[in-house]
Amino acid sequence: MRHTISVLVENKPGVLARISGLFSARGYNIASLAVSETLEPEISYMTMVVEAEDEKVLEQIKKQLNKLIDVITVTDFTKKEHVDRELILAKVNYSAKEKVKLEGALNKYVAKIIQHKGDIAIIEAVGEQSQIKELLERLQQFGIKELVRTGRIAIA
């Protein structure tokens, strides 16, 4: 099962290596990871989506993260009310024939064409995991050439 965790860390060199090293050394999986500065530049905020087959593994992941000296707090969003979003950029076929159909498809989502050149459009979309998933399924029919995702970010 996938769980969303946020981690506040000291913004110091090597912190990301400590966290990714911990995951590989203990055999945990990160499905996605997003890192950025916070309002306080010396603190970074990480949102990670981790795979844990049961509660025990999730518990260990949180405890091991907390043990790292540079980790300030660990928040588990699994049972917590929160908002999460992901941003994607997708290159999609954009032929004259499909134009109207594609624009119609995007209307249902927080998505727009941010650039187009010839037969290719770059689409930007933001949403919850279910919306992103649904949108990607719909875009399949137009042919997705390339896809970039930021990974989930979450806030409570």
Binding site: V9, A17, L22, E59, N66, K67, I69, V71, I72
Partner: protein, 554 residues
């Protein structure tokens, strides 16, 4: 002050009395200041020896051990020693030189990414790129190493930082917002634990190295006596409770006493303190203590619930929590019947060996025990020697058994003995070694002789890598693949270094040789030619339930 002077000043303020190390290109500025410093410096013959010596010093004294090495190969040679300390939660500060800041990442001569290499085997590490950070980093390093669950911390210092000038500012107050160990247990949990203990019929205390690092031996004994519960311990917990005590069960686990393993299997309540239910202790997990409830006390929350189920987790320092628990115990359980059952187990499954005309390793250790009145510091290598030393010496106080438990590092015992002797010069220090492992850090003989570090080494010489041979005998049809290991003439070897060597080939020579070694004010190697194919028993085969032991003498 330049960086090197700041470092020395910090070490002094941290109360460091001895440094183990080895010089090299990127620590030249530091060594130039060590030359005049009022701190004892022990020049080892290999950096691994420095790390183990610092570790042995820390285990014997409770104070952080300090080791120093140069960049690149000097630092990588410390790695095994750092990992050893990490696995056993030993406070240690390792200081390494690094290439100049502007060369970092250039594959410079003797460059290695030491903070990268040691990240998973240190509690924390630092690369100091600005001399202004140095004093704070050293202060934090000692603080992190010695508080909470202790562990090694590494400080990597480029040589230009060692030479940079800066004002020395000692940070009086230390504030690490992301590091706040929990020392006091949750009162509600402690109350619940007290209630559970009061209702138990077959309580048992299972303790580990946490008792020793917390300094909780006295309070542990008070608790055991108050609730009349038998006490068993892990390899790291040896010395936490007197082996001579009526309630003692000895060590449990793979080579533990049969009665400890049977007792924990029968118990209905385990009070686990400063121990982590390691696989060498539990054996097959689903058969471990099947009817016991578990109170687990540990300063490291991640140790609780990691390997084994828990009913009452209590995070905090063992000494505080056991003290609080004692106060909260309004009722105590009646364990008369349970103690009778335990006594019967002790009678039925005693720890024993078959003595004979040849020299038995167990006999050698019993003789060392008698000759030193059970009051020496025993260090060990790893393998059969380690298990026999754990089983047959009667440890009565903490910090007297020094052994690489978690990592199982061969070559640990001899340099660790040096460190222990320097930390506790009034104590007799005996390294119980095998002929295989003693050869792994034998170069430290020179360090001992040059610095007049008087340690005794009992080599249990069977011509084999005995523990691996034992497994090959039992599980690989006696196919002794590369475990027959020829050694040097240990007597001549000791003499060539300026130490003393004694060879013992007859049983009646064992005790006189030990007495003679104790009377010599020098490092002594005693080369005991023991029964070559003696095994360590009892033994729980890997993956088996711990009450299903192989007994050599059944």
């Amino acid at each position: 002050m330049i960086g090197a002077e700041i470092l020395i000043e910090c070490l002094k303020r941290e109360g460091v009395q001895v440094i183990f190390g080895y010089p090299g290109g990127q620590v030249l500025p530091l060594f130039d200041k060590i030359y005049d410093a009022d701190i004892r410096f022990i020049l080892v013959r290999h950096e691994q020896g420095a790390a183990h010596a610092a570790d042995g010093y820390a285990r014997a004294t409770g104070k952080p051990g300090v080791c120093v090495a140069t960049s690149g190969p000097g630092a990588t040679n410390l790695v095994t020693g750092i990992a050893t300390a990490y696995m056993d939660s030993i406070p240690m500060v390792a200081i390494t030189g690094q290439v100049k800041t502007f060369l970092i990442g250039n594959d410079a001569f003797q460059e290695a990414d030491v903070t990268g290499i040691t990240r998973p085997i240190t509690k924390h590490n630092f690369l100091v790129k600005d001399v202004k950070d140095l004093a704070r980093v050293v202060r934090e390093a000692f603080y992190i190493a010695s508080t909470g669950r202790p562990g090694p911390v590494l400080i990597d210092i480029p040589s230009d930082v060692q030479m940079q000038d800066s004002e020395f500012i000692w940070p009086e107050k230390l504030e690490i917002r992301s590091y706040k160990p929990t020392y006091f247990g949750h009162p509600g949990q402690i109350k619940k634990a007290a209630k559970l203990i009061a209702g138990a019929e077959k309580p048992l205390i299972y303790c580990g190295g946490g008792i020793i690092s917390s300094g909780a031996t006295f309070i542990l004994r008070a608790l055991a006596e108050k609730i009349q519960a038998p006490v068993t311990w892990t390899l790291m917990g040896i010395g936490a409770f007197p082996a001579t005590h009526k309630l003692s069960l000895g060590m449990l686990g793979m080579h533990g006493t049969a009665y400890a393993n049977h007792a924990i299997t029968a118990s209905d309540l385990i009070i686990a303190v400063g121990a982590r239910f390691d696989d060498r202790v539990t054996g097959r997990l689903d058969a471990f203590a099947p009817s016991a409830k578990v109170i687990h006390i540990d300063i490291d929350p991640s140790s609780i619930g990691k390997n084994f189920r828990v009913d009452i987790p209590i995070v905090g320092d063992a000494k505080n929590i056991l003290g609080e628990l004692l106060e909260q115990l309004k009722e105590i359980p009646d364990t008369t019947e349970w103690l009778k059952e335990v006594e019967a187990l002790k009678k039925k499954y005693p720890l024993r060996y078959k003595d004979g005309d040849k020299i038995k390793p167990q006999y050698v250790i019993e003789q060392i025990d008698e000759a030193t009145k059970g009051e020496a510091i025993i260090t060990t290598e790893v393998g059969q020697n380690q298990m026999w030393a754990a089983q047959w010496y009667r440890y009565t106080s903490p910090r007297t058994f020094i052994s690489s438990g978690g990592l199982g590092t061969m070559g640990f015992g001899f340099p660790a003995a040096m460190g222990a002797k320097l930390g506790c010069p009034e104590k007799i220090v005996f390294d119980i070694a095998g002929d295989g492992s003693i050869q792994m850090n034998i170069q430290e003989l020179a360090t001992c002789v040059c610095n007049k570090i008087n340690v005794k080494v009992a080599i249990l010489n069977n011509g084999y890598l005995g523990m691996v041979r034992q497994w090959q005998e039992l599980f690989y049809k006696k196919r002794y693949s590369h475990t027959c290991i020829a050694g040097p003439d240990f007597v001549k070897l000791a003499e060539s270094f300026g130490a003393v060597g004694i060879r013992v080939t007859k049983k009646e020579e064992v005790r006189p040789a030990i007495e003679k070694a104790l009377s010599i004010d020098n490092t002594v190697f005693i080369d005991f030619h023991i029964e070559p194919e003696e095994n360590v028993y009892p033994m729980v085969p890997a993956g088996e339930a711990i009450n299903r032991m192989i007994e050599g003498l059944a």
